[in-house]
Amino acid sequence: MKGKSLISITDYSKEDYLEILDSAADFEKNPDQPLLQGKVVATLFYEPSTRTRLSFETAVQRLGGKVIGFSDVNSSSVTKGETLKDTIKIISNYVDLIIMRHPMEGSARYASEISDISIINAGDGANQHPSQTLLDLYSIRKTQGTLENLNVFMIGDLKYGRTVHSLLMAMSHFKPTFYFFSPEALRMPSGYKHFLKEKGIKFVEGSDFVPVIQEADIIYMTRVQKERFSDPIEYEKNKSVYVLNNAMLEHTRPNVRVLHPLPRVNEINLDVDDNPKAYYYDQARNGLYVRQAIICKVLGIK
């Protein structure tokens, strides 16, 4: 029997999203539910991502399941040249579910096609990281009470930031208005803007978010990375334009929340951390419940 897998955020419909968010809300009330008792889950991390791995492994343990796997390619047979195909074929004989992170893009989709059991993609290179997007949705719904008709600000690197692309695709089901703020060189790719136009979703694009920040319900910050700029002067000019500080939040809506996929560098000033509108630490905690919900959904046990 072919398992159901979660590889890309667009594998799921609006109904699937809502089902997972409801289930996650239930896990938030009661995280210890022995739904995975007697089950073994493999976490195969071909590149290190300690936060994501621990979040998934905690989710499994809180569900009463057991975890095997590796978090370091050097200690596994991968360095001896074993193909992904062989590793997946073999490990899928041992366990009930594979959660994998791999530097090659498309690796998780491929794994889901050769495996008889379910695969959860915990990141395939710069491509997809659907549990991040679902925890973003969860955080937005939890803080706003709804996902519908929100003004979503996306600030920073909108060109290479996969989290903003996936969030855009997921939020497109809920009639948002997007506000894109980025350096000229890191604009939202035209493919996504075409998609929004076709769906009749409003968006505004600009370089300075401060004058309109009072419109925001959600402020989603991303890192502007130095290595994305060919010209170091351009980086120096741009880096401080996309830093959020506490004073900027003074006249914002009372319901506004600041999100960030973490880790941050300097794009959110430390003086924001104690503002009740800062939500990025809670956002990370929500990841646990959302991952519990995702695991149960792909295994069809809740």
Binding site: S8, L84, M104, E105, S107, R109, Y110, A126
Partner: protein, 155 residues
């Protein structure tokens, strides 16, 4: 010039039973031959290339005796010869003219341009979803990278 014209006519006319594929871009002639697997069959095959074409400037043409193609087979060449025309010949007469249609998915013909794609790093048959058929745009089924027409490379 007239010899070229004659050759072109001859290639269409001289075949009794079979298929003539016309309007192939000359630089992709051998890719068409390879995609259709013509180098591995025993049928009589003639081709001409750099023939004059009012529509394309230069074109190539292939005629294959006693060979007929299904739509699925012939649509594979859409990536390299989107304007190709297929003439089915029975008893020296063109009994059917078909145009190549860009399929909804392209399997195993095109290489993904993303060097970090799993298909470029492990033995995986490539697969692309066709986003646009007019200006052919493909999205890799695996890494989800989008390729525009001028970025498409044949394996």
């Amino acid at each position: 010039m007239s010899t070229i014209k004659n050759f072109s006519q001859m290639t269409v006319n001289a075949i009794r039973e079979g298929t003539v594929i016309d309007h192939i871009p000359p630089h992709n002639l051998f890719k068409v031959i390879s995609i259709l697997g013509l180098n591995g069959i025993n049928n009589q095959i003639t081709f001409g290339t750099n023939l004059e074409s009012r529509r394309m400037g230069k074109k190539a043409i292939i005629k294959i005796t006693d060979k007929f193609f299904t739509d699925d087979e012939i649509n594979k060449i859409a990536m390299v010869a989107p304007q190709a025309k297929l003439n089915t010949i029975r008893n020296y007469k063109v009994v059917e003219k078909r145009e190549v249609q860009v399929p909804d998915t392209v399997t195993g013909i095109v290489r993904c341009l993303n060097p970090k794609c799993i298909t470029n790093n492990e033995k995986v048959t490539t697969c692309f979803n066709v986003l646009s058929k007019t200006e052919v745009t493909l999205r890799c089924h695996y890494c989800e990278q989008v390729m525009e027409a001028d970025e498409i490379r044949i394996l």
